[in-house]
Every structure is written in structure tokens, then in C-alpha cells.
């Protein structure tokens, strides 16, 4: 019973954070056909901004989240302008593969700049809120987790509202559905692309603050979330927002169950095994459709 309960609790917490990171990746893929490998760096940068605001400057966690959002938004736009925009429409190269490589290069640069700047030591980031509720036997639920889950779910909902209701969000979805038609309707494609990557990165940055309070801020803090986000988006089907969020919780569940019932060192290999299986059985993920390359 306590096993099941603790699995459920960590499923919801892990799933919400993974959902945030994966949401950005799947959105960028849906719109730009770019598998953005720099999303892990955005998580890392978010963590460092959180550390700088909360620990160094001693300001409130709300400010830290806002600052991380703003900083990673800028980094996301910059990444798009430097490593994706010049390659759009280029003939003779495979856009998806080459941007996979360039965004990866951005991740390399950002991780090593962080290493130069902050050093290899892990930085402790204080909890957003302290205290916990006792649930059952040895299982307790920290307020921290509740806040994180609430903010993550709120962000996801806000994002869904933004995409479905706002003029700009509708423009983004139009681009994802049909590039040429969107262009004919007067959507300024060249401006949509950087902003999409900015927003996606900003969400990953917020997830980075959460992860840093849970673990540490360090130059390699983005690697694990990036790998998990990759797993989530494959599982959910690249480009599918609902698929990504559903898959985030499914992956959270698998990881939590594997950690409790097998061992934490085997959680990741089990996840990768599951993903290989999913790809063999359903090549485009659970909710994915086969998408044609464009651009």
C-alpha cells in the first residue's frame, strides 16, 4: 500500500515536470520540424537563474521563476536565430537532421559556458516552500511537490488556452497544420518561429527551477531531463501536445514503479527498453501520426 502510494505521488510530481520539458520539445517539432536538443540546456539555465535569484540575491521564489522564464525565453529566441533560422529552406541538406546537429552544438556551447562561468560544483537551491503533509506510514507529500505540480499543470493549461484561444496561438497551430496555408492567411512565419522556440524554452526554464530545487543546479543538470524528454516525446508521438502530456505521466509512472520495485539504477535502462519496444510496435509513438517533412 505504501509502495503504491509513493509510486503515485512521484508519478504525479515527475510527470508534471517531464510534461513541462516535453511540451516545449513536441511543440517545436510540430511547428519547425526541429528536434531541439538545446532544451536540456534551457533546463540547466533555468536552474542557475533560480540559484542566482534565490540563493545569491536572496529574493523570492516567484521572482526566480519569472526571471528563469525571461532568461530562457531570450536564450530560446537566440538559439533559433543562430542555429535554425539560417538553415530554413536550404536545398541539398536534410533540415531535420542538420538542425538536430546544430541545436546539439548549441547545447554543447551552453553547457560548457555554464561550466566556465559557474564551475563544475553542484549548487544547492533552496526549496520553494518547506514542510510536508504526512500521508500514510512512511509516505509524505512535501508542499514543494504540491506547488511544483500545481504550477506545472497551471502552465500546461495556460499554454493550452493560449494555443486554442489567442490570436497568436491560433497562428502557431495554423503553421503546425499547414505552412503554406498559414502563410497565405498572412501569418508572419519568420516571426512565429523564434517566438515558438522562445516560449518552449521558457517553459523548460521554469521546469529547470523546479528540478534544481529538487536536485541541484549544475552544468550537466540538463542532460538527464533532455534524455527523459526525448523518451517522452517519442512515447507520445513527436508533434502531439496531448500525447506528450499523457506520455509524461506514463513515463513518470514507469520510472517511479521501476525505482521502487526494481532499483533506481535500473529505472533508466528499463525506460529505454520500453521506448525501443514502443518504436518497434508503433513507429510514431502512441498518439503520433506520420508527418511529412517540410521546410
Amino acid at each position: 500500500m505504501s509502495d503504491v502510494l509513493s509510486i503515485l505521488v512521484s508519478t504525479i510530481v515527475l510527470g508534471s515536470i517531464y510534461g513541462l520539458v516535453a511540451l516545449g520539445m513536441t511543440l517545436i517539432y510540430g511547428i519547425l520540424r526541429v528536434l531541439d536538443m538545446s532544451q536540456g540546456s534551457m533546463v540547466m539555465i533555468g536552474g542557475f537563474v533560480g540559484w542566482a535569484v534565490m540563493t545569491s540575491a536572496g529574493l523570492s521564489p516567484v521572482l526566480a521563476i519569472a526571471a528563469a522564464f525571461a532568461a530562457t525565453f531570450c536564450f530560446g529566441v537566440l538559439t533559433q536565430v543562430v542555429s535554425v533560422q539560417p538553415l530554413i529552406g536550404r536545398r541539398g541538406t536534410d533540415f531535420e537532421m542538420i538542425t538536430f546537429i546544430t541545436t546539439f552544438a548549441v547545447a554543447m556551447v551552453l553547457a560548457n559556458l555554464a561550466l566556465q562561468f559557474f564551475g563544475p560544483r553542484q549548487k544547492n537551491v533552496p526549496e520553494l516552500v518547506s514542510g510536508s503533509i504526512h500521508l500514510y506510514e512512511s509516505v509524505s507529500l512535501p508542499y514543494q511537490s504540491i506547488v511544483m505540480t500545481a504550477v506545472a499543470v497551471a502552465l500546461m493549461l495556460a499554454f493550452a488556452l493560449f494555443l486554442n484561444r489567442s490570436r497568436f496561438g491560433i497562428a502557431i497551430r495554423a503553421v503546425a497544420q499547414d505552412l503554406d496555408a498559414a502563410r497565405l492567411m498572412g501569418v508572419p512565419i519568420r516571426r512565429v518561429f523564434p517566438l515558438v522556440m522562445g516560449f518552449a524554452s521558457a517553459i523548460a526554464g521554469v521546469a529547470g527551477v523546479f528540478l534544481a530545487t529538487q536536485y541541484f543546479a549544475s552544468p550537466t543538470a540538463g542532460d538527464q531531463p533532455l534524455l527523459i524528454a526525448l523518451i517522452v516525446v517519442i512515447f507520445g508521438g513527436l508533434g502531439s501536445l496531448q500525447g506528450a502530456i499523457g506520455a509524461a505521466y506514463a513515463i513518470g509512472l514507469i520510472q517511479a514503479a521501476a525505482s521502487v520495485w526494481v532499483s533506481t539504477t535500473w529505472a533508466l535502462p528499463i525506460l529505454y527498453g520500453v521506448i525501443v519496444l514502443v518504436l518497434v510496435i508503433r513507429p510514431h509513438g502512441i498518439a503520433g501520426r506520420s508527418l511529412e517533412a517540410r521546410l
Binding site: 528536434l35 552544438a105 556551447v109 526525448l230 517519442i234 539504477t265 518504436l279 518497434v280 513507429p283
Partner: protein, 357 residues
């Protein structure tokens, strides 16, 4: 096409062969001119990575399969060879061959689930599979692989020689592997098999219409590439006397991909040029370890944006221009012959672009 031209005949320009042979001889002389055990050691490691990168580039650039799991084959070859030497006391030469067999077997295993996938999904699956291999090696608690610490104390080759001559012997051995693999690949891309692979890459629908079975060719390409990567892994283990899970993962992968892309994806000379250049950059920045990856990352983006075909391709164009210029000097042919000559050189340039030099 009624008459199939001999694929191994016409497309090898004699000057290309001459340049290749001259470069190989020059490369073989380097350790004699430069008698530094450390320096030669760096070059040996570089040559091992050249072998790995050629095998990787074969899948990525020539077959057009987005395989990002090549390091799994490298590691399996390395661990397999090392374990066979430790436990079965196999002679090192056989261990190298066994590494190749291990790499090929894993590559075929990896190729099978990718058959239904294309594009980015292939890269994700292969990458995930490589992560599984790394984590399996790292989390092994039975003591076979040595876990995170790695496989220690593999007795290598040339132990009886003094350090300098041992380094030289290693250099020549690895250079021989590079030459054999590069020349073999240059031949292979000109055979019907190589042509079929390139057709599958450029136009899979057309290839299928011409009766090329994508599955069979992809599995074969994986097997060949995996065998070479496994040999590279076994060489790595034998040379270093050890191997650890850190040969895999995101950072090594990014370095090798940088090497291949800088040199020129899908060219024969590309991985060689790229690996040499990146190794030089790494050695130049060895006193500033933090800046290495930053510089490499910036260079990678700059190359992709400004020199998308890679350095080997641009160098090939330059060489063609020089050759044309030399031909013009020699003889001033009549106007008709100039037109024919230039169209032919354009064709050969196209070929060079596809196949490298």
C-alpha cells in the same frame, strides 16, 4: 541502361589515386620525423577515431540512415575484444577480429527495429539503444565489465618493444587500418551495392521501383559499418589497455559527430579531415580544457551554416579547379573540346560531391 560499365574502372581519376597514395606515404613517415612518444600516442588515438568515424559516416552520410548509436558497436567491439583476451586469452589479432564480429552482430540487431522507421525516429531509436548498452555496461554488478570503472589490464600488442617503437608500431598498425577502410569504402561506393545505398538515400521511392530492397541493403550497411566500428573499439581497448563506459554518451558522441560534419558528411575524405582538424584544435586548447567544447560547438554551427558540405567537399572543388587549370596550360584544345571537357569535369565534380575524393 543496356550495358553496365565496369563500376570499378572509369570513376577513379588517376590523380586522385596518386594524391591518396602520396598522402598515405607522408602519413606513414610522420612518426619517424616526429619522435615523440606522447605525440605519436595522440595520433594513434586519433587514427582509431578515424576508423570509427569512417564507419559512422558510411551509415550517416552515404547510406543516409540516421544512426546515432554507433558508439554502442564501438563499445561492444572494445569490451568484447578485451574480455576475450582476459578470459579466453585470445591472441590480440583474433580479439580485433572478434571485436568486428561483435560490432556487426549488434549492428544487425539494431538495424532490425529501425526498418520500419525513418528520419528522426531512427536517430532516437538508435540513440536510445546505445544508452541501454552504456547503462547495461555501467550498472553491471556481476563484475564482468567492471561497471563505471571499466575493464582494466588488457594486455595489448607490441609490449616487447621500447615505448617509442611501440608507439610507432601502433601508429602504423592503425594507419594501415585507416587506409584499408578508407580505400575499401571508396571502392564500395562505386560498386552496385554502393550505388544502391546512395540511391536509397537520395530517392528511396525510385530505388524501390528499380527493385532495390531497402531492408536487405540497410541491414547489410549496418553490418558492415558495425564490423568496422567494432574493430575500432577493439583497437581502442588494446591500445589503451582498458576501456570504460565513458567512451559512450552525449559528450563523446557530440565530438565524433562534430568531426564528421566538419569534414564533410557523406564523403570519403570527410571523416579523416574532420578528425584530424578537431584533434588539432583539441590539442591546441589542451591547456584550456573548459574552452574546448565551446570552441568545437561554435565551429560546428559555423561550418553547418557557412560550409554546409564540409571541408573535404570544398577542398575537392578546389582541387578540381587546380586540375582544370593545369590542363588548360598543357594544351589549348579547340572550342568544341573545351565544352565537352568542362561538361565532363562538371559531371566528375558532381560525382566528387556525392562520393568525396
Amino acid at each position: 541502361m543496356t550495358r553496365r560499365p565496369n563500376p570499378l574502372h572509369a570513376t577513379f581519376a588517376p590523380e586522385k589515386v596518386a594524391i591518396g597514395a602520396a598522402l598515405a606515404v607522408l602519413a606513414a613517415l610522420v612518426p619517424l620525423i616526429y619522435p615523440s612518444t606522447y605525440g605519436i600516442g595522440v595520433m594513434v588515438t586519433m587514427l582509431v577515431f578515424v576508423v570509427l568515424n569512417i564507419s559512422w559516416n558510411f551509415l550517416l552520410g552515404i547510406a543516409g540512415v540516421w544512426n546515432f548509436g554507433q558508439l554502442a558497436m564501438f563499445a561492444v567491439g572494445g569490451y568484447g575484444g578485451g574480455l576475450l583476451i582476459i578470459h579466453a586469452s585470445l591472441p590480440p589479432w583474433l580479439a580485433i577480429a572478434a571485436g568486428g564480429v561483435g560490432g556487426a552482430l549488434l549492428a544487425v540487431l539494431l538495424a532490425l527495429p529501425t526498418l520500419r522507421l525513418y528520419g528522426i525516429y531512427t536517430s532516437l531509436l538508435t540513440f536510445a539503444a546505445a544508452q541501454v548498452v552504456q547503462l547495461l555496461i555501467q550498472n553491471d554488478t556481476s563484475g564482468t565489465t567492471g561497471g563505471a570503472l571499466g575493464l582494466p589490464q588488457v594486455e595489448g600488442l607490441f609490449g616487447g618493444l621500447d615505448p617509442l617503437w611501440s608507439a610507432r608500431a601502433w601508429y602504423w598498425l592503425c594507419l594501415a587500418f585507416v587506409i584499408v577502410v578508407a580505400a575499401g569504402l571508396a571502392l564500395l561506393v562505386r560498386t552496385p551495392f554502393g550505388l544502391a545505398l546512395r540511391t536509397l538515400r537520395d530517392s528511396s521511392a525510385y530505388a524501390a521501383a528499380r527493385g532495390i530492397d531497402p531492408r536487405r541493403y540497410r541491414v547489410l550497411a549496418f553490418a558492415l559499418s558495425g564490423a568496422v566500428a567494432g574493430v575500432a573499439g577493439a583497437l581502442y581497448t588494446l591500445y589503451n589497455g582498458s576501456i570504460s563506459p565513458t567512451v559512450m554518451g552525449l559528450t563523446p558522441m557530440s565530438i565524433y559527430v562534430t568531426m564528421i560534419v566538419i569534414g564533410g558528411l557523406g564523403t570519403i575524405a570527410g571523416p579523416i579531415v574532420g578528425t584530424v582538424l578537431v584533434t588539432i584544435v583539441q590539442q591546441a586548447l589542451i591547456d584550456h580544457p573548459g574552452t574546448q567544447m565551446t570552441v568545437l560547438g561554435v565551429v560546428l554551427i559555423a561550418i553547418v551554416v557557412f560550409v554546409p558540405r564540409g571541408i573535404a567537399f570544398e577542398a575537392g572543388k578546389l582541387r578540381d579547379r587546380v586540375v582544370r587549370w593545369m590542363n588548360e596550360e598543357e594544351e589549348a584544345p579547340p572550342a568544341g573540346a573545351v565544352a565537352a571537357g568542362s561538361s565532363q569535369s562538371q559531371e566528375s565534380r558532381l560525382l566528387a560531391g556525392r562520393e568525396g575524393s
